[in-house]
């Protein structure tokens, strides 16, 4: 189903991210080499979003190194895109945003039209392409955010709690798209608070607690029997809430 990804493995070696002498990510070492979807789980404030931003290169670690198959990330490499939890847009049309990111990545004009049509089609936005973003619903905005990332044909897609503000049908649509992208060979690294969603999507789980790696495991093993006590508590607590 999934294909090898030339940008893996991703290696984090003793990564620290500190603000005002407070360690938000601490001594974080992990290696991600499997394709598919790696789900980052953890409590609020555990550092999930920060970790994604570090992986993307939006922010740089205070110490330690991050390597994507020997490449240090910087934010102007378009094989990797980040979809923020609260994406923002210009006061322009849906289509403009796809044209804009393609112009940033210096995609050839000849390819732009084809890529835009494909991204609009895949994300179900063809009908809405001339609409202004301010007139879109929450689900449509998240799909646009995904289309804006997908139009760049990224090999790695970083998603920061993309369905947090969506109702179940919109979240389901979004999940279907994420699976489609995974199946086309893109590596997905995603954060979520939604444990059932993580169970539906994850191939691998990275559980973090207070900025530190608590556990990294295959999704099936993790949800069946997490090895760290904090992950056990997390899952039990969520099950109580869900139940």
């Amino acid at each position: 189903m999934t294909q090898p990804n030339q940008h893996l493995p991703l290696c984090l070696d003793k990564v620290n991210y500190t603000i005002d002498n407070k360690a938000l990510i601490e001594d974080f070492s992990v290696e991600i080499q499997s394709p598919g979807i790696s789900m980052i789980l953890g409590h609020n404030g555990a550092g999930k979003s920060l970790l994604l931003k570090l992986l993307h290169g939006v922010i740089e670690p205070s110490s330690g190194t991050i390597y994507w198959q020997q490449q240090i990330p910087n934010s102007q490499q378009y094989w990797r895109t980040l979809v923020l939890q609260k994406p923002s847009f210009f006061d322009r049309s849906v289509r403009f945003h796809l044209e804009f990111v393609l112009s940033l990545s210096h995609t050839e004009k000849a390819q732009q039209q084809e890529r835009i049509e494909h991204a609009l089609d895949v994300c179900g936005l063809s009908e809405l392409q001339q609409r202004k973003v301010s007139s879109l619903s929450g689900g449509e905005i998240q799909r646009l955010s995904l289309a804006r990332a997908w139009v760049l044909r990224p090999k790695v897609l970083l998603l920061d709690e993309p369905t947090v503000a969506l109702d179940p049908p919109a979240a389901y649509q979004f999940e279907t798209l994420v699976k489609q992208f995974r199946d086309s060979g893109s590596k997905i690294i995603m954060t979520t608070h939604d444990i059932p969603q993580a169970q539906r999507l994850a191939d691998e789980v990275i559980f973090i607690y207070q900025g530190k790696l608590a556990e990294q495991a295959d999704a099936n093993s993790f949800f069946k029997a997490p090895t760290s006590s904090i992950a056990q508590h997390y899952l039990e607590g969520q099950l109580v809430v869900e139940g």
Binding site: N74, S75, V83, L84, F90, F100, L104, S134
Partner: protein, 235 residues
């Protein structure tokens, strides 16, 4: 009271009959103020956008100076320009003193900080709101300035209108550098001052009414732009 009514009636007659002297003064005033707005905008809009999106050494100093210059006393600008443009001044050879060009220059200097500061504030708000997104997209400042200018277009129009309002109502600086010379540098504000002192209140009143109309139109336009924006945001 009767005298006031009579002056008002005569002033209205001057406007309605399109009095050539009145038209000449209004026309020169508009030419000077519009030219000043154009020149100031060409510098102030890019300057405001750059200050909003870039951080560099001296950024805070430039921002502070621009903000302070928003309240620049017009007579001080007039005096400074007078000294520069007078025959013994460094720019005396240009022979600009007591010309409409000198008035354009004076008004441009007065409104440039206003337009630049308003633009910096407006674009800055849009830029800061999207800064994280721009980083995530790997977009450089130079790549986002044009779309941001479009997003801030209402603020852009409002700031240009504010500049025009300030320029057209200006009297101190243009009086000093223009000299209020008949058929050369006599604009609405300076003519009102002169004709009032001469007791020729009909022409002063007619020009005053036109100035009021311009001011009212600008304010109305700004309100329409603001309300249109709010309405669109709500819907």
């Amino acid at each position: 009271m009767q005298e006031s009514t009579s002056i008002l009636a005569q002033a209205w007659h001057l406007i309605a009959s399109l009095d050539p002297t009145l038209l000449e003064i209004v026309s020169l005033s508009l030419r000077v103020s519009l030219s000043a707005v154009l020149i100031a905008s060409l510098i102030a809009i890019p300057l405001g956008a750059i200050l909003a999106c870039y951080r560099f050494i001296g950024h805070s100093a430039i921002t502070s100076v621009l903000t302070a210059l928003m309240g620049l006393p017009p007579v001080v600008v007039g005096l400074g320009l007078y000294m520069l443009l007078s025959r013994s001044g460094p720019l005396g050879d240009l022979n600009l003193l007591f010309s409409s060009s000198a008035m354009v220059l004076a008004q441009s200097i007065l409104i440039l900080p206003i337009i630049a500061s308003l633009m910096q504030q407006a674009i800055g708000e849009h830029y800061q709101r999207q800064l994280e997104q721009f980083k995530a997209l790997g977009a450089r400042q130079s790549q986002v300035i044009l779309p941001l200018l479009w997003d801030a277009r209402r603020a852009l129009i409002t700031s240009v209108l504010t500049g025009f309002g300030r320029a057209s109502a200006e009297v101190g600086a243009v009086l000093i550098v223009g000299g209020n010379i008949n058929h050369v540098s006599r604009v609405m504000t300076t003519t009102i001052a002169l004709e009032t002192s001469k007791g020729n209140l009909e022409l002063a009143m007619a020009l005053g009414l036109i100035l009021l109309l311009i001011s009212f139109s600008i304010t109305s336009l700004m309100i329409i732009i603001r309300d249109d924006h709010r309405l669109k945001n709500r819907s």
